[in-house]
């Protein structure tokens, strides 16, 4: 290609630049997806209650007879194994949702910074005269960008990820829901063992000779009652949140192909809002 120093009009690159910038501008459509995925991935309440389940034996231990202690230790070993499985499930769900949030990210396909710099770079040339091959290269690059990394392309990638992930995601969420329920019921038996033991022994310690013992026992009974009440509240909230996440993901599946529509925006925003409310409640569980 022969080099020539024709002053080349910068109209063509500018037109392409404008088209490209316009394509980069509208990432707002994915905002609802991004927020919903990010909130969901927190799995608020789930990990805490899994840890609580794992540590059941430590809490029960002071209240168990030697025979009871031996039985519980066998359960403890299996619980720790189960906890590892439980964590692994939560991690794959969280990773999927986090990655979805990044893929739907605001800055993700926004190349306007880069395109601006290209534009400044090109503008520095007019004084010296542009070589046509350089302009061609620049135009080709801009065209490539416009073709390859556009907002619609990003949206299609997000839609594909939502569709493909929905079935395994819902199955894993269903399993996590069942697990939380078993943890909740285990907690109920734990509470009955601890408070039950105190109740039985306090009844026989409630004599003048054992006044101090009875008082100590009752104080412990009081604080344990509060502790278990808090735990029960938290289990309910965690279960509710998991249900919200499952519903929110179903809404996402339903609306991801029509993100600009009013029902889509309403449904997805409402789902994110509910998840945020759930998370706030979990920080301060109350009746």
């Amino acid at each position: 290609m022969k080099a020539s120093f024709h002053p080349v009009s910068s109209v063509l690159p500018t037109v392409l630049l404008t088209a490209l910038l316009a394509g980069c501008a509208s990432t707002d459509r994915l905002r609802d997806v991004r927020e919903l995925a990010a909130e969901s991935s927190k799995l608020s309440g789930y990990t805490d209650m899994s840890v609580r389940f794992r540590d059941t034996y430590a809490r029960e231990q002071p209240y168990l007879s030697p025979a009871g202690d031996e039985r519980e230790r066998a359960l403890d070993t299996v619980r720790r194994q189960q906890y590892a499985d439980c964590v692994s499930i939560a991690k794959s769900v969280a990773l999927y949702l986090d990655t979805l949030a990044v893929l739907a990210g605001e800055q993700q396909y926004d190349l306007s910074d880069q395109v601006q710099r290209l534009s400044s770079g090109i503008k520095a040339w007019p004084d010296t005269g542009l070589v046509s091959s350089h302009v061609n290269a620049y135009a080709e690059l801009t065209a490539l960008l416009a073709r390859t990394w556009s907002a619609p392309r990003q949206e299609r990638a997000v839609q594909a990820m939502v569709h493909a992930g929905q079935a395994p995601l819902q199955q894993l969420l269903a399993a996590m829901t069942a697990l939380l329920r078993y943890y909740d019921k285990t907690n109920a038996n734990e509470k009955a063992i601890v408070l039950g033991m105190l109740q039985v022994e306090i009844a026989y310690a409630d004599t003048p000779a054992n006044r101090l013992l009875a008082a100590l026992g009752k104080a412990q009974q009081q604080s344990k009652t509060v502790e278990y009440h808090q735990a029960e509240l938290t289990y309910r909230l965690a279960e509710k949140n998991l249900a919200t996440i499952a519903q929110a993901q179903q809404a996402l599946l339903q609306y991801v192909d029509q993100l600009d529509s009013a029902p889509a925006r309403a449904a997805l925003e409402q789902a994110s809002q509910q998840l945020r409310l759930n998370r706030a409640e979990l920080h301060h569980p109350s009746d």
Binding site: G68, S92, Y109, R117, L118, A124, A175, T186, I193, V200
Partner: protein
């Protein structure tokens, strides 16, 4: 030929555990009633027909109850029941969490694919960045304007450093 030995499902195990827990609740209620009949400090409770297999049945009208030793033995039975129930909940949990490897793999694969897409976009951003800096640098050199070289040169160097850091797994500085 019917298979009579179908393995229990998680739901079966949960239902059984629920019954055991309910049984334990009932045992506890009876135990506490029996204890309250013994002890004057405890509030009076209505008499119930005997049905306690492991201890002396409280009979109406007589201020008999159970000794601490008997109460402890009965409570120990209750604890054993609850521990059995918890063991079943644990079995149900193992069942529910088992066989999910396939689902997890699907999600992990999708996440890996998406991360690859994200990485390619990042690389492209870097490529464009380098191209624009090269253009600016070239323009400054061609124009013979040394004062315009410093900025694109610095930015270019920084971009290349970041790229190098990324490919060796460290986070970029900017």
């Amino acid at each position: 030929m019917t298979d009579h030995s179908t393995p229990a499902t998680a739901d079966d195990l949960e239902a059984l555990a629920d019954s055991l827990s309910a049984c334990a609740d009932e045992l506890h209620a009876r135990l506490m009633r029996a204890i309250r009949q013994t002890l004057p400090t405890a509030p009076a409770a209505p008499l119930h027909p005997a049905g306690n297999p492991a201890g002396p049945a409280p009979t109406a009208g007589i201020d008999q109850g159970i000794s601490q030793g008997a109460a402890q033995a009965l409570f120990e039975n209750e604890v054993a029941l609850r521990q059995r129930a918890n063991g079943l909940y644990l079995d149900a949990a193992m069942l529910a969490a088992g066989g999910l490897g396939g689902m997890q793999h699907q999600l992990l694969d999708l996440s890996a694919q998406a991360r690859e897409t994200i990485r390619k976009v990042d690389r492209l951003k870097d490529l464009i960045g380098i191209t624009s800096e090269l253009l600016a640098l070239g323009a400054a050199i061609a124009a013979g304007k040394p004062e315009h070289i410093a900025t694109p040169y610095t930015q270019l160097k920084s971009l290349l450093d970041d790229l190098h850091r990324q490919s060796s797994g460290q986070p970029p500085t900017a």
